[in-house]
């Protein structure tokens, strides 16, 4: 089962965990959280604004999940990405995978996050303490 969500609401890790479908075959649950960091390239960051082309982002994420499923026996994958402005310390992304064993769950989460950063049409603009703004490349 896949769940792919793009949301303007705050992301709650506990709620995502509760919503996962339990399966007795799964001995591993791995999750990754992306958090807004307080600096980039030595510049103090106040917030990040996330923009997304949602229909294409969801299609591309579905492709990435299918690729991960071809590589590893994953039971469930949940991807939740925030759009809009987020202050330092906020959760911007959660990726969860459940699998029979830990290695495939770790590998799948790593793969999904790496590919998301390469191909999914989501952009971020940092606002620095100086008031300057910059789209990240």
């Amino acid at each position: 089962m896949n769940q792919i969500v793009i949301t303007k609401e705050p992301i709650c890790i506990v709620r995502l965990m509760e919503e996962l479908s339990q399966h007795d075959c799964c001995g591993a649950l791995v999750w990754f959280a992306g958090i807004v960091r307080n600096e980039n390239d030595g510049k103090p960051v106040n917030q990040i604004y996330y923009e997304c082309y949602e229909p294409m982002a969801k299609k591309e994420l579905e492709k990435i999940v299918q690729e991960a499923r071809q590589k590893w026996p994953i039971h469930q994958i949940n991807i939740t990405h925030h759009v809009g402005a987020l202050p330092v310390g906020s959760v911007s992304l959660i990726v969860i995978a459940t699998a029979p064993h830990r290695k495939e769950a770790f590998d799948a989460v790593q793969y999904v996050v790496d590919e998301l950063k390469k191909r999914v049409p989501i952009w971020k603009k940092e606002t620095y303490e100086s008031g300057q703004e910059e789209w990240l490349h």
Partner: protein, 79 residues
């Protein structure tokens, strides 16, 4: 040939528009759109812009067809 072009992030801010409609000659290639929209800046933008037609990535040499939706994709940075 009618083409809808979607703009995001820095490209949207440059034109101050999120969407443009262009009437293009048959056979126009995807890579020809940046010079039409951004003039002299296009050479710099070409190096870092990807393209999608109807929400699927395509190469810069792909020809557009009537009714296509072309998305100009500046460097992505999700996560």
């Amino acid at each position: 040939m009618n083409t809808r072009i979607l703009l995001f992030a820095g490209l949207r801010e440059r034109l101050n528009k999120s969407e443009v409609q262009l009437d293009l000659p048959q056979g126009t290639k995807v890579c020809e759109i940046l010079p039409i929209l951004f003039g002299e800046e296009a050479a710099k933008l070409t190096r870092c812009t990807l393209f999608a037609i109807n929400q699927n990535y395509v190469t810069p040499e792909t020809e557009l067809h009537d009714g296509d939706e072309l998305t100009l994709i500046p460097p992505v940075a999700g996560g």
